[in-house]
Every structure is written in structure tokens, then in C-alpha cells.
Symmetry: D2
Subunit: 367 residues, 4 copies
Amino acid sequence: MSHNSFGHLFRVTTWGESHGPALGCVIDGCPPGVKFDLARVQSALDRRRPGQSRFVTQRQEPDQVEVLSGIFEDDRTDGQVTTGTPISLMIRNKDQRSKDYSEIRDRYRPGHADITYDQKYGVRDYRGGGRSSARETAARVAAGAVAELALEQMFGEFAISAGLVAIGTHDAEARDWSAVDQNPLFCPDPEAAKTWEKVLDDARKSGNSLGGIVEVEAQGFPAGLGAPVYGKLDQDIASALMSINAAKAVEIGDGMAAARLSGVDNADEMRMEDGKVAYQSNHSGGILGGISTGQPIVARVAIKPTSSILTPRRSVTRDGEEVDVVTKGRHDPCVAIRAVPVVEAMMACVLLDHALRHRGQVGSFPS
Amino acid sequence: MSHNSFGHLFRVTTWGESHGPALGCVIDGCPPGVKFDLARVQSALDRRRPGQSRFVTQRQEPDQVEVLSGIFEDDRTDGQVTTGTPISLMIRNKDQRSKDYSEIRDRYRPGHADITYDQKYGVRDYRGGGRSSARETAARVAAGAVAELALEQMFGEFAISAGLVAIGTHDAEARDWSAVDQNPLFCPDPEAAKTWEKVLDDARKSGNSLGGIVEVEAQGFPAGLGAPVYGKLDQDIASALMSINAAKAVEIGDGMAAARLSGVDNADEMRMEDGKVAYQSNHSGGILGGISTGQPIVARVAIKPTSSILTPRRSVTRDGEEVDVVTKGRHDPCVAIRAVPVVEAMMACVLLDHALRHRGQVGSFPS
Amino acid sequence: MSHNSFGHLFRVTTWGESHGPALGCVIDGCPPGVKFDLARVQSALDRRRPGQSRFVTQRQEPDQVEVLSGIFEDDRTDGQVTTGTPISLMIRNKDQRSKDYSEIRDRYRPGHADITYDQKYGVRDYRGGGRSSARETAARVAAGAVAELALEQMFGEFAISAGLVAIGTHDAEARDWSAVDQNPLFCPDPEAAKTWEKVLDDARKSGNSLGGIVEVEAQGFPAGLGAPVYGKLDQDIASALMSINAAKAVEIGDGMAAARLSGVDNADEMRMEDGKVAYQSNHSGGILGGISTGQPIVARVAIKPTSSILTPRRSVTRDGEEVDVVTKGRHDPCVAIRAVPVVEAMMACVLLDHALRHRGQVGSFPS
Amino acid sequence: MSHNSFGHLFRVTTWGESHGPALGCVIDGCPPGVKFDLARVQSALDRRRPGQSRFVTQRQEPDQVEVLSGIFEDDRTDGQVTTGTPISLMIRNKDQRSKDYSEIRDRYRPGHADITYDQKYGVRDYRGGGRSSARETAARVAAGAVAELALEQMFGEFAISAGLVAIGTHDAEARDWSAVDQNPLFCPDPEAAKTWEKVLDDARKSGNSLGGIVEVEAQGFPAGLGAPVYGKLDQDIASALMSINAAKAVEIGDGMAAARLSGVDNADEMRMEDGKVAYQSNHSGGILGGISTGQPIVARVAIKPTSSILTPRRSVTRDGEEVDVVTKGRHDPCVAIRAVPVVEAMMACVLLDHALRHRGQVGSFPS
């Protein structure tokens, strides 16, 4: 059991506080012989990096990843490859400004983990949120990039695409995944993205913040991933996405709306095409009975609005004094934006983990 | 790693197919000295038992639980107590009717695990759905009842209440948990329950089925349950609820709606009352940063409509032939109903598991 | 984490007390499609069964195994096969004589778990030793037999042979594994076996008991099983063998004697034969750096003498009174004998678990 | 499941290769509020550090530990304390000399993991043994020092003492643990230590190496640590000690010799002294039925001789060529010496893990 690890055969352990010297992860169980591509890992980190637009925190972190173990190269290998031993990745924190945390040291931000960490542990690194900060997700993104490299070797072509599909009460219509990196909101609907910029500016300027919904779609994965009853693929996706900071709900396929459907409407009917099963719809989100169907795997996660806002909120101090809390400093007005690469990374990790588990228990994949 | 176990310190492993000789579970890690009450366990099973109204499957199963190990009694104990060793519980299947499964043996029900089990494993006990049948949840309910007995010993007064809060497009308004056992739909809104009976009758008679939403609320638990980052209480609740048959989404507190709120509205403000922190709202569902706040813990799970329906749906056979599938036999027109005691049981298991984990790592609970 | 399970991908959870209604195990992670052979499982249990000679406990238990789940047969399968879902096996206890346990209820047998179970849990099923009884090992033997069936499917020809190679101060010379089932002591040295019968008779008649050493050799397994650092094959063998009742030491290859060798003598030199590496010796016991070499895997476990003896020993009661303890009843004069099939079973489970782990992480085995 | 972690509630994951940039560990599950003492951790590392006498490798490594997370200090804490979040520790490698590894790159040292790593993974960081190097144990020693700090807070006074009790065919008589740090061989018998220096010099000068036996004794721990059947304290000690490089056997209490005893002689008789159980002997090594008795916990591990020696040994290359291997470079003539602090560290980790597990499942410790 582990409070800071996820996955089973592909197991990632993260460490580090927001304002400590560094953060990182240890990846245990990456298959050997995977062609390692540091630029790909760095590029994934660059997407998640703070300070890239006015819609995210202004903290300046290069998020340069350092590989400490598990990768090897000599004249017999095709460049750098994984060795099957633990891959340790580290990112140094550069732009800590810990000097002025007297406020959140004693004053609990409503809707934030400040109070519960103190209640549970009695002590807490409050500088920048410490371990509860979203900075921890940099380590997830690095691990996810490694998972993608391994998945490529196992499955060849595939795509894991994520994007912001709702901000506050505004929903995206289109799912043009290629548009996601064309706008600062990671939105797959270019039209919506334009409107949303103003929506978010308004919230930000009024000292407020917004929630959002991130959708992820994994295409090109075989049927058979997952396991019955308590090793279900959807269960592990739910666990992975709910572990992301500020997550409050997870949907698979039609999600909450599935409860509103009748059995007649919910059935994903099947026909044969080119000798293969062809589903006529994908209400299930690519998962039936906890096992992948071969259709696109679709999930969504609801991210609540940032609790660190400029509007005063009633709260209490560590010593039980009633106060009003205003959180200055550098905070994301909508953390759901930077959650997009994190969701993608978590999905890659879960899929690789299940692919290795399937290979262990069953051997080959269904063709 | 285990595909058929959940929990860490309170670990439940279930086994059994719908039409095999029996099903059951092994509970490992139940604290010693817990006063065992077989009647309580049986009573929990009786709630989940099929055949109790026209709204659930007509299969007749007494679901009588047999205790095979882990419980002891002598003249020094206060009746039967747990010994700290594994508790093995078994329920014999009585009303299997396996003779006529030629239909689902070869024909995949759309929206059902039939096809994915076959694809993954190459072989499948198709009789009554085999391992993918909701009959497996009887073992969960038995384990949950044991968890409740242990929680009582740890925390005294508490309440874990679950109910059906939506069926199809109809929502309950009230949350009168005492009403749940007064109607055959386990609905906490007595008025709604009356209307719903007709809604469900209509669906059933037209050869259709309905989805629903189950809500659960756990009251009386201390702050401090949970753990940061990957041992989050909400993460484990999400995993537990998503592992239930037909689950497609999980919400904590405001859930999907949290994404629609602004930071100002989402903040659960705090004041002091009688020297204790008093939250002014509970958008968070009693969990912040993955750790319980001491407020009621609130979660919801969306259950899709039963895929076994009388209305013909297009499908394929195991051999790739295109067919229409009509599922006769005894099926729940709305599996969400009988999911209610299962959701309650899973919540009890998760809370006990986290209580033991907290006690292990931290020692005492925050007062 | 689990106190009553072992293995990772092939995971066995056992339950049951010596004088409870039954004992058994749940096997999670057995690959699907393994040809199941109930007679093989029963035959393994028959070897371990009590009451078969004057050298083992006279308790009469048929140890008939009942398969409760995980096995399926229809006209498409080649007889009974595993389905990949949990295999639940149960053995009913038949010959409990719990009426007269007032003695060990209150009096702690020196060298027995009586006192530590009471100290840890505060309560204990003392009838026949409860959970600490060697009856638990019946479940291991059943699981081991299933593991052997799966190993056959993966690797074809192989042999896991175990035997009693020392009793008290007497050592076997020969390692004729085919002789093991020809004598009641499971000794691979037929000459030694004859002498030992008298040695054991003498011990038994004088109200004493003897310890012994069990050796196990696994032939026909590929190089590559195991994992570095904390998933070492020898580490898991040590864990598995030390988990057997009364085990006090585990050796791999030369074991304790390896400490007495020089580096020159300990080196297993290598030459090429038929294009393959041919080791010139096997000091290592077939494991280097935690990973199998392809040579026979050799381990030994030291089993202490039975603590339940007729010779009075000084002890105390639960209430702190000083007493002399004499243990009547039916006990093995040398538990090491019946440990032989248990050691074999544990080795099969560990090897299958590692084979599945290797297949998961690495894919194919080295040729 | 994890190949590079050990422990459950106190879980340590190590990473790093001998000639990579660094090595380290992540400690997950250390209780919060433990007074952290960096000097204590460094001092433990200094004991294990290479280059301190002619009896160990001449590699010069300062082994300076860097704390990257999990420790916090402000004006409310009593110096540095643990926060309950993961503690990441890193040690930079300084004295790598990777330039000339062409020899062991292709030539497998007999008795070394060179060949099995290659066979399993197909690729291997051969520089200095890569992940299979004993340098990995620096991370264990650091983790063990943290475990000791936590144990002090839980149990107050205790002692975990380890020493070299045999080298080659020479045994120590005395167990004067205070003498261990007074001689370069970590021997608890000052007289023996003097003789052994010459023994080891002779071996070293003749291009040979020696094995040895390390004994560890843990005093001051309560009864009740451990768990039945597969969470046995002795089982976890066996697993932990067998995971150390070059370990070939583990003994608990009398170990292999227990098999030679009769039941009469093996019984640890009990009397009452000052109202407490007083054992009259400790054949069991402080563990009965997998659970600690409150007596000193005693274990031994056999360490084989270093396989990297100057005497030529017959071997093969990666490409199947027959060669003679002579290992130059800096190697320990008896790795058992530097295993002493490692054994002590592993014992501390296992005991803390079990203490937390006991507290989780049972609550308080038996008085």
C-alpha cells in the first residue's frame, strides 16, 4: 500500500513539495528496451509548465527534467533505452517565493486542503501549498510521457487526446483534438476557446475563479484491457482522474447521462464490418464490464474552481480565530486548463499498467 | 495486485459466478475483538436479496450467509467476536436455471460484458453472466456489514445512508434516509417513490429498462481520513463505486456541478461554533485535498440501464454472425435499485480501510 | 497489503482454522484456459493428508477439495478449464475434536504461537491451534497444484521435487527424487529413510519430537525469472518458505555454507555447450542477482521440532500462573515430513507468480 | 506490486545505478511529526561508506545525502520534523570510473548478476554493475536511519545491533555489540577481529575473496509485531535480508540448527518474573508463529564471497565466446563487512513497518 504511488506493474511514486528544492518521481516497472526520448518528456512538461499565458499562474518554472537512473546508452543500443530498472526523474524548483506565507500559514483557505492536512498530520509544509500543490502534477506528466513511449513500442499507432470541454457554465461543441494546442485554454473547440478567453478574464479580474471539465479520448487500443470486478479499467481510470487536484467527479462514456437513458437507447449495437465487430455507437466509452472493447476510451473529469481567490471568504485560523481570507500571490484562475496534460498523462499510465497486467495474466492480446 | 480484491488494511476478496455452486468473500484485516452479529450481516443481505418486489429480478435466492472462519466464541468473549484472522463468508446459489443459456452463450448482449470477457479470456462462464453478474455484489454487502460492525467499535455513533435519488430522467427532491426502507425502490423521497413505481412499470412492460443514480452520505466520521495524492479518500470512493456493475460515473460533493461554480460560490466558508470549526456549506462533500473534513461525506454513482432487455437489439455472435438479441429470463428492470445496499457497503469498507490506515500511519484521530 | 495472501499476479489468499467448519483458499490471477484437473489437485492434497502413517498426526481428514468457482466446462472447451476469474477451493474439516481444549486454552505451549496470538489479538481460536495450525497448509497445497497446472501450460516439461533431507542430526546423502513417494518420510535417500524410521519412533515413544530440513529443486525453468533488488526470486522463495509453520531458516543453493567459501571456490564457471551457456557447478542454486540462471533452482528450509510434546515443559497460563505443560492429543512427531508437499507447492506458486510478472514486464522469455 | 520497493505502511522505493549520476530512495508512509536528524542519517551512511579501510572497496564516495522533500521546519516545530508526505533522499555519485568497462561489458563474471540481467532485460547498465551494484544499499541505509528515528518516537529505548559474526570458516565467539564500531570488520568479538584482519589480508593478496555471516539483534520491541500466515515478522525479515546483494541464506533464532534439536530442547520455557512472562531461553529468536514475543529478535544472513576477483575464472562472453575472466578495479574483498549497516537498516525498516501495521489493525500494543 502506498499513499504516493499509483499503478501496479507500471508503478509511479511521486514526491516533492511546491516550495521544496525539487520534485520528481520514480517509475518502477517500465519495460526494458523502450527507446527513450528526453525531448518528448521535456515537451510534455513544457505543455503543463506555468507562466505561459495570462490564464495560468505566473510562477516562472523552467520545469527542466533531470534523468537520474534507469536509462542507458552504448554502441549496441539504438540511442538511449530503458533498462527495466527504476527511472528516477527530478525537476528542480526555481521560482519559490516562500517569504510571505504568513497568511496561509495560519489561515485556512475555504475549499482548500490547508485545514485537512493540518488536522490529519498536525504539521504541514504550507509554503505554496506544500505537497497539496498542483506542482506535484509535473511529476505525473513526466511519468505519462514515459508511459507513452512504452505504449508506442507495444501498440504502434495510438492517440491519447485531452482537452478542456467546459469552463464554468460554458460547453465546447467540437472535439477537434488538433486544435487543443492552438489555444491557451487547451480547448478542442476553436470557436469556444475565443469566447472563453473573455469569460476567464472577467472571472480573474473580478477576483474570482472558474471550474471546468476535461475530456480524454484514447484511440487505437485493443479490446481486453482491464479485469473484472476490482481491477476494472474504468475503475482505475476513475481512481487516476479523481487523484488529480481539485477533481470532484469522473465520467466514463456517457457518464452521469447514462443514468438518464433507457436500456434500448443505451445499447451500443453491433454489426460486422470487414470481419470485425463494428459498434454502432459508443455510449459505453469503450469499456464494458471493466474491460476495453476496442472502441475509443472516453472519460471526463470535473475540476472545481481554484480556491485561492482575491475575493474575501469567511474562514478560521489554525488557532480557531474567525477571519476573512483573501489569497494573493500567483494562482491559476482555472486549474482545469493545466489539468489537461495531467489527465492525458494519467490515462497513458493507466493504459500501460493494464496492458502489462493483461500480458502477464493472459499473454497475447486479442487480435 | 489483485483483480478481485479491494481495500488495503481491510481487504476483501470476492469469488463466485452467478450460476456456480456458491459465491463469497474472504475479509482480511478486520480488527480483532469486534463483536460479530450474524443477524446484522444476514439482514444486510436480505435488503439486497432478489425477488422481493416486481421491480427486481424474480430469481429466488435466500442468500443465507455461512461463516466459515475468523469468528470465535467462548465463555470469556462477549458472544461471537472477530479474531483478527480471515473471515470467510459463503452464500450458496439455489435458484440457478442454467439449462437455457444457449442464447447468451453465443449472442453478445449489446452493452453487456459478454463480448469483452470472451475477448479477454477466450473462455467465459456465460451461465447467468458468470462472474460479471450482479450476484457478485452479495459478497460485497456481506463484507460491508462486517465493516460497519468494526466501524461501530471504532467510532460509536455514525450513519452511512444510501438511496436511489434518480431513476431515468426523474429526480428525487427529499433526502429522508429513514424513508429508504419504506418503499421498494430504496428512494429517500417518499413522494417521488410513488411516481417512480409507475415509471418503472411502464419501462418494464415495454421491454425496456432504466438507469438511476444512487447517493450515499456518511455522517459521524472524523476529519483526517484519507491521504494525499494517491491514497485520497475520494479517489478510493471513486474506485469502489466505479467497480460496481453498470456504474458509469462517480461524483463527490457537488460532483460535475462543481465545474460549473465559481471559486466564490464553491468555497465552503468556515466559522467557529462551540470551539469547533463549523462549515457553512458542503460543496466539497466532506473531502478536501483527499482528506475528510468531518462534514458528511457525500458521493453519487450513476448506474446505466440493464442491458438485458426484451426489446430486440442488433448484435453479433461469438462466430461473427449478425443477429438480433432479445434477452428473456429474470432481470432487474433497473439495477440501480439493488445497487443501493451495495453502495452503502462499499462506502463502509472504504471508510474502515482508511480509518485503519490512518491509525497505522498517524496513530490517534484528530479530536 | 494482506496478512493472509501471498503472490502478486498469481495471488493466493487462505482462510480457515483447524477446528472451524472448513478451510480453503481463493486463487486470483490464474491465467485463463488452463486445463483443470481436479484429480491432480486432490492427489496433491492426499500426499499432505494426515493419518497416513504412524509418523504423522493421527487426525483423520479426507481433505476432499470442493471447487466453488473459476472453473468452467462446455462443449467448446477441452474438459474443465480455468476462466481467469477467482478459483475458490474449500476443504471441510471432519475430524475436529474440540471438546477437550481446556488445557491449551489457558496454558501456553512453549515454542508455540499460543502466547503470541493471545498477546497480539487478545482473543484466539485455541481449538487445535486455530489459525496457527498446520492445517492451513492444505490450502497451500491445493493452490500449488493449480499453479503446477498453469506452469505446465506455460513451460511444458518441468519438475519441482521436494524431500526431507535431514531429520534431527541425521542427513540424507542421496537425492533420488523418485524415491520420495516410496517411503513415509518423503526422503529422497531410501537407505536413510529406513534408519530414520527408528530414529523417529524413538523420539515419538519418548514423548519427544524432531526437526528436519526440506530441500526443493525446480528443474526446467528458463533464465530470467525474478527481478532486481526487491522482487528477487530468492527473496520471494525465502519469504514463501519462511511463511510455512515452524520454519526457522531458508537457504538458496549453498546457503549458509556459501559464507564459508572463497570467491575462487564459489564461482560457478561457465563454458559453452551446444551453443548454450553451460555452468560447471551450481553453488548459486540457480539464482544470480535475484534472477534465475536456467540451472536447477535449489532451496532448503529448516523446520523446528513440534512444540506439542508429551514431555512436561515449564510454562505459564494466560492468567500468569506457572505450570508444567504436557500436550496430549494428535500431533506430528516431525512436522517437517508433511512440510514436504507444502514446500513443493509454495515453490510452484512463486515460480508461476514470477513467470507472469516476467511476461507482464518483459514479454517473452529468453530462449 | 513493485520490483524496487519494500515494506507496506513504511514503504521504501530505491533507484539508481552504480555509475549513474545519483542514487536514492523515496520513503512513503513515515509517520508525521518525527523529529528529523540529518546528522543521524549521514552518520549511518558514513558507516557504510566505501574507502574507509583496506578491507573494503577503495572507491571514494562522500555519500553525502540530500533531503529533497518530506521534512519541514518552522517556529512552531521542534527543529526539523517529518510531515507524513514522501521523504525523497538523494546521494550523488562522485567517483565513477566508467571509462574502462569493456571487460565486464561483454564478459560475464562467474557468480555475478551480469549474465542474468542481460538474459532478462536484453540490455544492462554494466558500468560498475549498474543496478546490481551494492551501491544501491546506500539508499537502504538512509531509509533505515529514518526508520530508527520513527521507532524511537514510538518505542523510546531500543537497540538494533548488527555485526559480522563469521568470515570464511572463522566464527566469532563474543557478542559485544559495543565493539562493532571499534574494528574495521564490524565484528562484535574484538579478539576475533584481530585474527580476521590477517585472514582477510591473505585472501585479498592472493586475488581471492571471502564470505561471511552477519547477525542482527533487535532489543526492546514489544510482543505482538507480525501477523499470521503470510505477514509473519520472520517472513518479512527473511525477505528483507535475502534482498541484500550476495545473500544466500537467512536464519531466525537457532536457524538451521533448530532442525537438529528435539522438541524438548527447542522449547523456550516460561516462568513469571515481576508479573511478566520470562522466557528461560531464546531458541525462537524472539518470534513465535510469525509474531514477536518481546524477547530479542535475532536473525542472521549468509553473504557469499565477492564474485569480482583477481584470480582468473572460466566464463563466456555475451556473444558466446569462452574466456577467462579476471576482475580488476575496486572491489570489496568481503562484502559481508559493509553489509552490516545494511542488515541493521533493513531490520529497522521491517520493524517499523510491522509496528505501523499492528497499530492499524489492532490499535494499541500489548503492555
